[in-house]
């Protein structure tokens, strides 16, 4: 089900136009994640990525995941507009595979100290390794499903009480798990799980941990942030990474 990237040394799960659903490194390669120490507007962030990768002697096609921080949740129209520009950037870098976007993404809007413009928070790329480790990144999955109207699309639309948040949590965990299994990953390999919501950390997080299998042993990171679209209330991502760098 996953698609081989011809030059990136990873496989990806087809998602939508703006991002893939997840990426997993090919044997002989591992995914490394870099968190930026300071905020950088996303376009400039791509310059940072290029110089980071070039400095390591890597091609830009090794870039396989992006994490963004938006100023605020967007309307569908605003989100589409942003994604067109974002996808153009990926296309300009020749990252698309037969018109399909292979790069995973998480994009959320922090409640505290939100950026003025969308910023690059972190990125991931593949490098050769002797370690047989399985490394992967699952894109942010929100409480959203197929449907014609917002009421149909959003799980427990308009509700943020504890029961509704638990239902949303169960939905996103299931979605992330499915993506992980489709990529050939497992909870045992997961090094980090992240939840993004301004609602219901208490009362929800207990149940979440119970659904994460062995990954719960490593706890979970809760970010007070909104998913990128108005009406969505909870998002989750996960990754299995051997090397994480926190850059200046």
């Amino acid at each position: 089900m996953s698609i081989a990237h011809p030059t990136g040394h990873y496989h990806f799960l087809k998602g939508g136009a703006p991002f893939s659903s997840g990426v997993i490194a090919d044997p002989g390669y591992e995914i490394v994640r870099v968190t930026l120490g300071s905020a950088t507007e996303w376009c400039h962030g791509f310059d940072h990525i290029r110089s980071h990768l070039t400095g390591l002697g890597l091609e830009v096609t090794s870039l396989c995941a992006i994490e963004l921080r938006a100023p605020a949740p967007m309307t569908l129209e605003e989100f589409r507009t942003f994604n067109v520009t974002y996808r153009e950037k990926l296309s300009h870098w020749d990252l698309l595979v037969d018109g399909v976007n292979p790069v995973a993404r998480t994009n959320v809007a922090p409640m505290y100290s939100p950026p003025v413009k969308t910023e690059l928070y972190a990125f991931s790329y593949t490098v050769p390794t002797d370690d047989p480790v399985s490394t992967f990144v699952i894109s942010g999955a929100a409480d959203s499903q197929k449907g014609k109207t917002p009421e149909e699309r959003v799980v427990c639309f308009g509700q943020t009480d504890v029961d509704s948040m638990r239902k949303k949590a169960a939905f996103v965990v299931n979605l992330v798990e499915q993506r992980m299994l489709d990529l050939g990953g497992s909870w045992d390999s997961v090094s980090s799980t992240n939840f993004f919501s301004v609602h219901g950390m208490d009362g929800v997080i207990d149940g979440i941990l119970g659904a994460l299998g062995p990954a719960a042993f490593r706890g979970t990171v809760w970010h007070h942030a909104w998913p990128p679209l108005v009406d969505l209330k909870l998002e989750m991502d996960a990754r299995a990474i051997r090397q994480e760098i926190f850059a200046c």
């Binding site: 968190t35 120490g37 300071s38 905020a39 921080r69 922090p110 505290y112 100290s113 928070y121 390999s189 090094s191 992240n194 950390m201 208490d202 009362g203 997080i205 207990d206 941990l209 119970g210 719960a216 042993f217 490593r218 706890g219 979970t220 990171v221 809760w222 970010h223 007070h224 299995a240 990474i241 051997r242 090397q243 994480e244 760098i245 926190f246 850059a247 200046c248």
Partner: protein
């Protein structure tokens, strides 16, 4: 006051017998944190650390912080007994600086724990970077134990777990984090992770008591562990770190 550990290439904040309050790498060195994919019994963990360091060409003295997972919280007496055994290994390794233990530590017990003995979850060590890098540091786990004195009457709001008491406890622990960060000479903007360990409800604690005081560190979220601090009746623990490189081994 920061104390030099020249062999380890880091400075540490004086703590109590079982652990220091925190460590910060010397200039041109950095602290690297390693999380074990599968934790191992703590004594075996020291063998793992030694082998890992040896592979990197590093001495035992580079080891600067341990993270442990206990089967369950224990009494003050049980804690002291474990610490005696733990410190005897540190002494055997020649890690004490005079009579002081320089190694930072976090030790908690997950609520759904199934293991039967204390295990090594993660460890940290110093390594040369060649160049000046941002300061990297580990702040040891602290529960609501006034001045770190290991006796029941030092527990903030001892025996109480209502919302108000939990707020007092969390507020005290945050204050300890702030003091240790300051004591190490580090800054909020280089904190890369903030961990919270509690089995009690978080309601009313997170935003006002913690996030409002984390400054720029809150951009990385709050790492939650449903866990007990290592001693019975202590209900809330935190630790923090600012590291550039983390390995999941």
């Amino acid at each position: 006051m920061l104390i030099n550990n020249p062999e380890g290439h880091y400075h540490f904040l004086k703590g109590i017998g079982p652990y220091s309050c925190g460590v910060i790498a010397d200039p041109k060195y950095e602290i690297v944190r390693v999380t074990l994919r599968h934790s191992v019994p703590w004594r075996q963990g020291f063998d793992f650390i030694e082998a890992y360091l040896k592979q990197q060409g590093l001495p035992r003295a580079a080891f600067c912080a341990a993270e442990l997972r206990s089967p369950s919280p224990v009494s003050f007496e049980g804690f002291a007994a474990f610490n005696d055994a733990y410190c005897s290994v540190l002494r055997e390794w020649g890690l004490f600086v005079g009579e002081l233990n320089p190694i930072a530590r976090t030790n908690v017990a997950l609520t759904n724990e199934t293991r039967s003995q204390v295990e090594l979850f993660a460890f940290s060590y110093t390594v040369s970077t060649g160049d000046a890098v941002q300061p990297t540091f580990i702040i040891a786990g602290a529960g609501e134990l006034r001045d770190g004195i290991l006796e029941p009457q030092s527990i903030v709001c001892q025996g109480q777990t209502d919302a108000l008491a939990m707020k007092e406890k969390a507020g005290y622990v945050m204050q300890v984090m702030e003091q240790r960060l300051d004591g190490l000479g580090a800054r909020w903007d280089v904190v890369s992770a903030t961990d919270v360990y509690t089995a009690q409800p978080l309601e009313g604690l997170v935003e006002e008591t913690i996030l409002n005081r984390l400054g720029p560190a809150r951009r990385h979220g709050l790492h939650y562990h449903k866990a007990y601090p290592p001693i019975l009746e202590i209900e809330f623990e935190m630790d923090m770190r600012g590291v550039r490189c983390q390995i999941f081994a």
